[in-house]
């Protein structure tokens, strides 16, 4: 074993490690599903959805360098599209009590996967259109414009009663988002983004982030690239929205106010703007802490006094954390670095490549 490993090119160690990690990951998913109660599994699934959201926001904010705050809107488009397509005609009739549903939608009934994809594509299309309009702007102006668009989408959803059931929302959606769907999508999308970022297009995105004028002068169609990045990001946000809808089984426009965007932005900033690894890790940590810190919202025994429970106190914790990060570690957890087996060897968690053969790899 030892000798055969040392004769292969250095890539093979990484491949073996990656394969091992993938197998361990799959086994863990199995074990978790068997082991944990339903509530824990719900949080575990939410981690996966938040990974997708954070990654998609990181694609525009971190890799293409466009400060966009419209993510909640694209999620909403994906969530509503997917939900309306998967609801059975009977369910629709029960839901639409104030204003009957538009006749052309009443009998549409699709399985989960096509509905999810259509939801994503529709969100991507909206993202593309809004991108063409708003990506002429830069920096803060772009942030304000996208924030505005996101709110416009929400207001439209509230008022298009015959399509979205307005403020009443949609209830009783089938619980399609199983752990396999949530984590399967998250893993696929992570893989997709890693490949995209490593490709020539990823380099083009990063060149726009680093120096727009130089990128344009080097033959990069800056505007086209920005729109492409924006549309892909919206597509992924739409997919996450669809997954979220069938995870919560009930959606209404209020869930998609701009604060939702900031929740995702928090993950991206904590993880590192421009790091896929950072977004994945931060999404998991933040999602779990959001639940773990729930006790802060309830009555607290401080030793000398007992508070009567302050709802929202745990968000104060995240605000404080964000402030600390912005002041002391602006690059976030990972900065722009990515996970690699080599990086692990460098910090001593794995034997170095040269010595890997002696110690028999891992």
């Amino acid at each position: 074993m030892n000798t055969s490993l040392s004769k292969k090119p250095p890539m093979s160690r990484d491949k073996i490690l990656t394969l091992c990690a993938a197998v361990i990951g799959l086994v863990l998913l199995f074990v978790f599903e068997e082991l944990f109660d339903r509530f824990t599994m719900q949080i575990f699934k939410l981690c996966a959805i938040n990974i997708i959201l954070a990654l998609s926001l990181n694609l525009i904010n971190g890799f293409t360098g466009l400060f966009s705050l419209g993510h909640a809107g694209f999620m909403a488009v994906g969530a509503y599209t997917c939900a309306i397509l998967t609801m059975s005609p009977e369910q629709k009739e029960i839901n639409f009590v104030l204003v009957p549903i538009a006749p052309w939608l009443a009998n549409v009934h699709l399985p989960f996967v096509p509905a999810l994809l259509i939801g994503g594509l529709f969100a991507g299309l909206i993202g593309w259109i809004l991108g063409v309009i708003s990506l002429r702007l830069r920096d803060d102006y772009l942030a304000i414009a996208t924030l505005g668009f996101s709110e416009i989408i929400r207001v439209l959803l509230t008022n298009a009663q015959s399509v979205t059931n307005g403020a009443l929302g949609l209830k009783g959606l089938p619980r399609f988002t199983t752990m396999w769907w949530a984590w399967g999508s998250a893993i696929l999308i992570t893989l997709f983004l890693v490949l995209l970022i490593k490709s020539s297009y990823g380099r083009a995105f990063k060149s726009i982030r680093d120096n727009e004028i130089a990128a344009e002068s080097m033959g990069i169609d800056v505007f086209g690239m920005k729109v492409l990045s924006f549309a892909i990001s919206s597509f992924l946000a739409g997919i996450a929205g669809g997954l979220l809808a069938h995870y919560l089984t009930t959606i209404d426009p209020k869930q998609f106010i701009f604060l939702k965007t900031f929740d995702i932005l928090l993950i991206v900033v904590l993880g590192g703007v421009g790091s896929i690894t950072g977004s994945v890790v931060a999404a998991i940590v933040v999602t779990i802490s959001m639940e773990a810190l729930r006790f802060l919202d309830g009555p607290l025994n401080l030793g000398f006094m007992t508070t009567s429970g302050i709802p929202g106190l745990r968000m104060v914790f995240f605000s404080a954390l964000l402030m600390v990060v912005v002041i002391y570690r602006q690059q976030g957890l990972m900065g722009k670095a990515e996970f690699s087996w080599d990086a692990l060897s460098k910090i001593g968690l794995l034997p170095r490549r040269g010595s890997a053969a002696e110690k028999g790899g891992k």
Binding site: I213, E216, S217
Partner: protein, 254 residues
């Protein structure tokens, strides 16, 4: 030997300020042309007009007989016009190699699906641009720094990287904006040799802005002198050196 680039009566006004007035440049195939003038004379503005960063207020710019006014900078680059910047504009968070690879994206002719799915056709193209990028880095003596962050290089090497990056777009016409800025005399001499070398090796036509007279006079057969946006003289280095208007612009009236 036709003219590669022609600017005809090009004007650029920023509000009330005439940055460039009736610029008439004619650059022949294979030439090295200098563009000189005191600070604020409109040299960089002229570059920006030709490369599409600014749109002229009036006039016509023709590259290989084709009107390029109104075209976006990336489209002009595609035609074969590349440039470097006065204040170096590298992709600062990216490696030296990636800086060169970005410049080849346009010529790869790939699409986002092919690239993301790493189809065999894409891998072939990727391998090809890697080879080319490495050859270019070899050419400018930066092979050792391939994986370094672009902005971690010393100043002179950043300048060379910028030139290599411009060459990676496969230009016919190369604009160099003060390539010798910040270089010591020894480096300037090396730069002159380097400019002549790449001209021959890549069949380039070069237009350069330079304050360093030794460099300009050394490599340029012909030059234009701008002052307050107006072309006050053009001709061979000898003619320019003895032109009273040029002396006046540079040294003031005696």
């Amino acid at each position: 030997m036709g003219s590669l680039l022609q600017t005809i009566e090009v004007n650029k006004k920023f509000g009330g300020l005439a940055a460039v007035t009736t610029l008439n440049m004619d650059v022949q195939d294979g030439e090295i042309v200098g563009l000189i003038g005191p600070n604020g004379a409109g040299k960089t503005t002229s570059f920006n007009l030709i490369t599409g960063v600014y749109t002229p207020t009036s006039g016509s710019i023709q590259f290989q007989g084709q009107e390029i006014i109104g075209m976006k900078p990336h489209a002009i680059t595609r035609l074969g016009v590349a440039r470097t910047f006065q204040n170096i504009r590298l992709f600062k968070e990216m490696s030296v190699l990636d800086n060169i690879l970005v410049a080849q994206h346009m010529r790869m002719g790939t699409n986002v699906l092919e690239a993301t799915l790493r189809l065999p056709s894409y891998i072939k193209k990727e391998r090809h641009i890697h080879e080319r990028a490495r050859a270019l880095l070899e050419e400018v003596g930066l092979s050792r720094h391939e994986q370094d962050r672009a902005t971690s290089l010393p100043y002179g090497k950043q300048r060379r990287l910028e030139i290599a990056r411009a060459l990676a777009t496969e230009p016919k016409l190369l604009f160099l904006d003060e390539p010798a800025a910040g270089m010591n005399p020894q480096e300037s001499v090396e730069l002159m040799d380097f400019i002549l070398k790449i001209r021959d090796q890549f069949n380039l036509t070069i237009v350069l802005i330079e304050h360093h007279m030794q460099v300009v006079m050394g490599v340029c057969k012909r030059m234009y002198v701008l002052d307050y946006g107006v072309t006050i003289a053009h001709g061979t280095p000898e003619e320019i050196q003895n032109d009273p208007k040029v002396i006046e612009a540079y040294l003031g009236v005696g």
